[in-house]
Amino acid sequence: MRGKGIRIEGLKKRYGKGDTAVDALKGVDMQVAPGEVVGLIGPSGSGKSTLLKCLGAVIEPSAGLMALGDEVIYDKGWKIRDLRALRRDRIGFVFQAPYLIPFLDVTDNVALLPMLAGVPNAEARKRALDLFKALDVENRARAMPSQLSGGEQQRVAIARGLVNRPPVILADEPTAALDSVRALAVIRILEQMASQYETAIIVVTHDEKIIPTFKRIYHIRDGITYEEAGEGRGVD
């Protein structure tokens, strides 16, 4: 596994210039260890999405430092040339909606990422099937996304986020569309996967059902983060 956890120091993001400039992030500090699941909570407009886009190497921060394990990936500019490969190989994404590719079956939805990275098809599909076993969706491996329930789709989306064994997973409101039982099930799975694969997981959420499950929570308000110890009850 390349890198361990994620570290962010003084991350800033400014949109626009001059009088119209808006500081979406004013100095974010975060550190998430391998195997840890932390919550990121904040009201609308607080900078959650901007932070997620910076962490996901989708937009470039204005200042600060980001590191995956010991490797600095941003420090006054990107330190890695191929951001596309960075996103593909070292950052996993789980979205509010599963956003599975509707014309690929469940296995290929997950296996597509390693295939894009050059892994042979058979090996990529084996990785996907191994994850399906862990996520208890192996019996739906040949199904199309439209044939799955919401919970099953979200588990497949988690498998897609994990399949390249990234050191970090960014989960954007992964339980927003699920009921309490399924939402807690998703968090349980994320915790298991974080532990099993030594992955650092950041869960952006508004969902009060799952907030008590985090051991550590980052609050973000007006572009600044505040760390807080969570109740850390976990999922029974």
Binding site: L52, A85, Y99, L104, D108, L113, L116
Partner: protein, 400 residues
């Protein structure tokens, strides 16, 4: 690596197939239009090839007998026959008209052929049923496209003719099927008037003091006799002896007979370069318009299909899919759509071509060119959708 385009097509095959069928009908029309042009050219070549002539001798300074009217005395062929290098020379007359068939009529080119036998210039070179004309009057050989049957009687002007033979691919440059009749009958048909008109003409001649002089007995009868016959033909078809150059014989005829003579390449130039040139340009314009319409439709369809997948494209980009993979997916879908359309279009054109009233010739070269054109159009049409897809911000996959 799996084929994203292939999977998408398989997933929504109904949409692709129905769109492809619609596009295919348009491509089919395009192929048929090209076939119509080829058919016109082939008709012109068939007219020349089937005439069995090496030279066409026509009225001086005319482009006859197909592109312009031409009139020659019917005894000129004797002088031509005596010229060096000439193997055969035969009078021929052409008249495009409606040939009566019972209560209906058929558009046809009536060809008057000089007495003789098969192999003589102007005669149908082969028959598919019946026999050649053997009598001097009232027999006909018809192209099968006229719809006439052996033994059927057809009416040209006032006279009836019995169909004694059927031939095939004997058409005018306009695609009208030919009906062959004896030359004398054809000459009469060109100028034959009804009885009332003949009586009126004779009365006028009798009342004309210049033609009816009391001191010149027999003058009026001679004038009326000359008015009752047509000594003209449209052309003399010449076959050249082996070893003689057509250009040299033609030049000799031009020089000594003060007539215009065309060789086969010159006649092809007149028919294809002049007679059907305007129609060819017309069809060419249609082809350009149809190609533009096809390109627009493919571009619109591919753009719409791509816009339907904008969220998936954003996710793919966020997950690290290369731009060229996404571009290839869109382009492959456009080409696949074009290939489905082309297959449908080719089948449509093949099965509908025989139903057209005029000859539609679908040539393999045109089909290959059409396939190439469709692929090029589809590739170009997909560029708009590719540009739109590449502009999609991967951040769109992340909320907020």
């Amino acid at each position: 690596m799996i084929s994203l385009a292939g999977r998408d097509i398989l997933h929504s095959w109904g949409k692709f197939v129905f769109t492809g069928v619609g596009l295919g009908l348009l491509i089919g029309v395009t192929l048929v239009m090209a076939g119509v042009y080829r058919g016109m050219v082939d008709d012109a070549k068939a007219l020349l090839d089937n005439s069995g002539a090496d030279l066409w001798v026509v009225q001086k300074d005319t482009l006859g007998p197909y592109a312009e009217s031409s009139s020659l005395n019917d005894d000129i062929y004797r002088g031509i026959l005596a010229m060096s290098g000439v193997a055969q020379a035969a009078n021929v007359s052409y008249l495009t008209m409606q040939v009566r068939r019972g209560d209906s009529d058929v558009r046809a080119m009536v060809v008057g052929i000089a007495p003789g036998e098969a192999g003589r210039p102007g005669w149908p070179p082969y028959l598919i049923a019946g026999r050649q004309i053997t009598r001097s009057h009232y027999e006909a050989v018809a192209d099968i496209a006229t719809g006439f049957k052996l033994g059927e009687r057809l009416q040209i002007r006032r006279n009836y003719y019995t169909v004694v033979g059927l031939t095939r691919r004997m058409v005018s440059s306009g695609g009208d099927p030919m009906v062959f009749i004896p030359l004398k009958d054809a000459q009469a048909a060109q100028f034959l008037k009804d009885n009332d008109a003949i009586l009126q003409q004779r009365r006028r001649s009798a009342e004309n003091p210049a033609l009816n002089r009391p001191g010149v007995p027999g003058l009026l009868d001679a004038v009326i006799a000359s008015q009752s016959v047509n000594p003209y033909v449209n052309a003399v078809l010449v076959k050249i002896k082996p070893g003689y150059a057509p250009d040299e014989v033609a030049q000799s005829i031009r020089q000594w007979k003060r007539l215009t003579a065309y060789t086969l390449p010159q006649m092809e130039e007149i028919l294809i370069g002049k007679l059907i040139a305007t129609a060819a340009k017309q069809i060419g314009m249609f082809l350009v318009i149809l190609a533009l319409v096809s390109a627009t439709i493919v571009a619109f369809i591919i753009y719409t299909l791509t816009m339907d997948k904008i969220r998936e494209i954003a996710v793919l980009k966020l997950l690290g899919t290369k731009n060229r993979t996404i571009a290839a997916m869109i382009m492959q879908q456009a080409v696949a759509l074009g290939l489905i359309g082309f297959a449908v279009g080719k089948i449509t054109a093949t099965f509908t071509a025989p139903l057209f009233p005029k000859y539609v010739l679908l040539m393999p070269g045109d089909t290959a060119l059409g396939l190439f054109g469709v692929v090029v159009i589809c590739v170009l049409a997909s560029i708009i959708a590719i540009r739109a897809a590449l502009k999609v911000d991967p951040a769109e996959a992340i909320g907020g």
